[in-house]
Amino acid sequence: MNLHFHTMDDLREAISDLGDILARPTRHLSHPTLYRRRDVGKNEKIIKGIRVKDWLLSDDQRWALPHDQMGLSFSSNYKNLKKVYKLKERHNPGSATHVFWVLEEADLPSGLKFEADRDKKGHYFLTVTEPILLEKLVEKLRAVAQRMSIIQNAGRLL
């Protein structure tokens, strides 16, 4: 499924039609679940596309460890998504921001689970439920990305 939007109202309608989804605004040409060097701070550490600060890692930084409030951020409602979207657009002027989404009930690779943020309505984390080697986590995050669909900001791509 490949949807487009021109205005935030278009996006709201598209989201409401999709039902229970988890969405992640992502800058044009960036990956929805992994990071490139240019996506992060110049002194920030990423390992194979994994943003170190997102996850609870072992001391040797080879493993991602279970934590139900750490992982990749997703929005589960339009209200939260809209604010995160605005934030991303503001931080990336001149670049289109698209919305990648996956059904809340989608089958995830083993060891991954969506967990609600205990402190914020509409915000979820894609977490790990067991220790996972970062090489394996990268594979699993790629698999999640393959299951995601995109709502493109067509207005900014014209």
């Binding site: 701070g41 920030e44 951020s73 402190d119 309505k121």
Partner: protein, 101 residues
């Protein structure tokens, strides 16, 4: 109380409250909560001023005391501050200010 996932979020917020010479925001971050609707509106507006100021700093190559970019920390703060305002009964103020942006 505002609940932060990372201690650095408060460091970031205090840094910009001081940089913007905003004693009211500094006070809110010091006590960790807002007193009333007016302060809730103030905190909501301050959040977006902080975002703009941090973007300006990055654009100007200002050396900042954290390794992550400001997009990372402002997204964390969006959820921490927004979550607090919702719990405190000020979701409307938070939404209204965000809609203005």
């Amino acid at each position: 109380m505002i609940r932060y996932k990372f201690e650095e979020e408060l460091v970031f917020a205090n840094f910009y409250a001081k940089k913007l010479n905003d004693s009211k925001a500094q006070h809110i971050f010091e006590v960790g909560e807002v007193a009333d609707k007016e302060e809730a509106e103030y905190l909501s507006a301050f959040f977006w001023r902080m975002v703009d100021s941090s973007i300006e700093d990055e654009k100007n190559g200002v050396d900042l005391p954290w390794d992550e970019n400001s997009e990372f920390w402002t997204e964390k703060l969006l959820n921490s501050i927004g979550g607090y305002l919702e719990r405190a009964g000020y979701e409307g103020e938070w939404d209204k200010e965000s809609d203005r942006q």
